[in-house]
């Protein structure tokens, strides 16, 4: 096994899988272009071929020299020592931090920005390990107020309103209030 570790094998499989899957998908748009000899697939397939080739080089490097940083690499210092997980709790907490924003993003269409945001802000603080209720409440309100003040009131930016009741109604109420506020001045 040389100096290979499990992540090295996983990485090689990951890159090769990407190359193979994308190569297979490229047949779905393999149409000729009259004015261009290489067609729509030429450029991506060269990239995929190089990706497969370089991933093998990466695998060979890990096999022969391990996964430590190469000497003289610039800008790689911060990645040298990935954090080691010692308990399932750590996996869970990091997983929550990674998944919560994605759940928020996916909920933007039905729930909208105005209703979903304060809940998300509070949840992300909890996921970060914050347990002081007053800190969470105060800062959630403060961040929400800054965002609404800057983007809704000052910059008039269009933000997702949601399409599900009662979230849509809350957004409509906020926008109506804002319009009334604008008319006052």
């Amino acid at each position: 096994m040389g100096k290979l570790s499990r992540p090295d094998i996983f990485e090689a499989v990951f890159w090769l899988l990407i190359a193979v899957i994308f190569f297979a998908v490229s047949f779905s748009f393999n149409q000729p272009i009259e004015i261009y000899k290489f067609g729509a697939t030429g450029w991506p397939r060269v990239i995929l071929f190089l990706m497969a080739l370089v991933s093998l080089g990466n695998f060979y490097y890990a096999y022969s020299k391990g996964s430590k940083a190469q000497e003289g690499r610039v800008g790689a210092k911060e990645n040298e020592e990935p954090i080691k997980y010692t308990s399932a709790g750590q996996y869970f907490k990091t997983g929550m931090v990674l998944i919560l924003p994605l759940v928020y993003a996916l909920s933007l269409k039905p729930v909208g920005f105005y209703s979903g945001t304060p809940i998300f802000i509070a949840l992300i603080m909890i996921a970060w390990g914050e347990r002081r209720v007053r800190f969470i409440l105060t800062n959630t309100i403060l961040i929400y107020a800054i965002l609404i003040g800057l983007f809704m009131i000052v910059l008039n930016a269009p933000l997702p309103q949601g399409n599900m009741s009662p979230f849509y109604d809350i957004s409509a109420f906020m926008l109506k209030t804002k319009t009334q506020f604008d008319q006052m001045f």
Binding site: P44, V54, A69, N79, L106
Partner: protein
Amino acid sequence: MIENFLAGTATLFGDPFTIGIFVFGVLGGMLFGAIPGVSMLTLAAILLPFTADLSPAQGVMLFAVIYCTGTYGGAITAILFNIPGAPENAPTAFDGYPMTQKGMAGKAVGAAVLCSAIGGVASALVMMSATEPLAKWAIMNIGPPEIFALVFFGLAVASSVGGRTIWKGWLSVLLGLLIATIGQDPVGGINRFNFGYSDLAAGIAFVPAILGFFAVSEIFIQAEKNVSGKYTAPKFNVDFPSFFELWAHKIAVVRSIFVGFFCGILPGIGATLAAFMGYGEAVRWSKDKSEFGTGKLEGVISSETANNAATGAAMIPLLALGLPGGALTAMMVAVFQMHDLEPGPLVFYNSPDLIWVVFAAMFYANLSILFVGLIETKTILYLLKIPFQFLAPMILMLASIGAYISRGLVLDVVVMFLAGIIGFLLRRSGYSIPGIVLGLILGKIGEQNFAQGMQMVHYDLGTYFSRPICTILIIAGVLTLLKSLHSAFYQKPKVQ
């Protein structure tokens, strides 16, 4: 030229409303550039519809000013939080963030302020004196083969910085190039890799991707440290670099001005490649290369001088040829079009007033970086004192809004967070986020110019080598790749 410049200055400062727009642009660009999670592009996207109510000169001037000051502003977040405000500030983080960790944030930010101003002013001066001849030179000598060759060279340089090994550097760039192929192909408009999602036909917008890879992944990295109890707050420090410290890097400044200007003048390339090349050249010419990436002032200086030197130069292809060099200059084309104008050679003859107001505004905006930037910096450094439990949700929210606003698609917010998760996992494994982002930005430009170049030379690659600029750039790119390939096989790993 001086008469035109003075006339432009008089128009700029002769009307209180125009002054107000100028000041708004200066402060807005700096502020949005310096708020982690949003960037000058967010501000520009929000302001775009409002420019319809301004005069053409005011609208274009506002965007030009935001471009100058926002390019500098992005350095602040790169240095303080390892979150580049824009891709052109990515190399600044290589040394800027380690400097913050060492308690030298003031020095790094101070150098960024000064060098951004120097690079920007020098570039503005050359732009004013030589836009027309340089544009003519560019028309005669720069075609798709040269642009493709420069993209190739730039990607070769990008793969050699960042990433734990050269292989990981290359894989990062290739991943960026692959992501750039999602959407319609640039020649036939055929949908590629959209996996049935019609929203993906327009491709992955690079604002959400950049926010995800840089800002969101950095939040996740810090969260992971927090969870495992390894999070340490950055050290607060407001010591600026001394005159002698900066003077010692005068050659790096001059070199970066040339590199930045050259990259900026080429259509479609812009400040991002300029910053990478400026940084790459600093590493190449340094006697002690191992110090780069560990908090070397020269790294910040080279990157920040080069990216601001590209801002003035990027106006040359935009104004003279109508070709934008990046996202913000592309929005400037939209401002022109809103007012029934087309940027291009005719604009010099049809609207000389507009041109000189923009030139004068860019000159003064770059000067403002020096004065306003120094005052702003003293305040902005206090961001380091804000607890990250507060800053993290704030950054995530600002990034979400920034990603959503540019196209009004929730998909972009999803893409941003997915890019954040992928970026987090890749960073843990030693891959280069700047490499991915540069691949993503230059991928489409590279493919488009390769295709055009191939059609131009009737698929005869040998013709590429009959063009001197193209030959030099391809040889330089190949040598860079060979050098890194050599090091990949014959260099020992770091002993820890």
